[in-house]
């Protein structure tokens, strides 16, 4: 699905990346805990979160996240917007809560992603 369609489904406002609405996305990851995002989110998926600090953008960059969708009408601070422009990561904001955002996207065929981290390495 194109990011443009995601924008329609969520009645979202594009904060960064008006020129990137034609990228394709299939999966999403919803979380407010950044360590969970780092542990589980797959490259190329959308990150749905209520957090707006610059760390969210840095993590999205580290993980090759396709787009950040802010929920509950949250607006990022200016530094986060500047950083997102720098690293070319689109940010959209929707007025829906995370629960409803996930519900609407899931109903349209977006699936969850959970990258299994190989746990329990050999101890020496």
């Amino acid at each position: 699905m194109k990011l443009r369609e995601i924008k329609e489904i969520l009645n979202a406002e594009v904060i960064v990346g008006e020129d990137k609405l034609d990228i394709e996305v299939k999966t999403a990851f919803g979380a407010d805990l950044m360590s969970d995002v780092l542990a589980f989110a797959k490259a190329g998926s959308m990150l749905l979160t209520g957090l707006t600090n610059t760390q969210v953008v840095r993590i999205a960059n580290v993980l090759d996240i396709a787009a950040i969708i802010l929920v509950r009408g949250k607006k990022p601070p200016a530094e986060a917007i500047a950083l997102a422009k720098d690293v070319h990561i689109p940010i959209l904001t929707t007025k829906y809560i995370l629960f409803e955002t996930a519900g609407r996207l899931f109903a349209k065929g977006i699936v969850g992603c959970l990258e299994k981290v190989e746990a329990g390495s050999e101890r020496i």
């Binding site: 999403a28 919803g30 805990l33 589980f40 995370l98 409803e100 996930a102 899931f106 959970l114």
Partner: protein, 112 residues
Amino acid sequence: METGMIARELNLKVMSGADKNNNATGGYTGDLLSDVMANAREGDIWITRQVHQNIVAVATLKDLAAIVLVNSCEPARDTLEKAMKENVVIMVSSQPAFELSGRIFNLLNSSK
């Protein structure tokens, strides 16, 4: 929709409050307790990965229908003890928050 029905439909493992059958009228997904305290509504089913015992107090204070832990996160021992004492429903799902929220949202919508 009753929490027992949601558990059956979505294959959730009921950890506490099995005898309670609260009516879930909506849902809230979030991992920051202050956010849930501020924004969840009475009767919401709360989807989170937080396993700390404070989640029980939040569910009680906000009159939430149930807590559902995602990614197969098990409640901490003191969380479970507290939930049993206060008769708060805690259930566990193997799915990530996005997918579980998606399924519960659509389940609640279809029953309206």
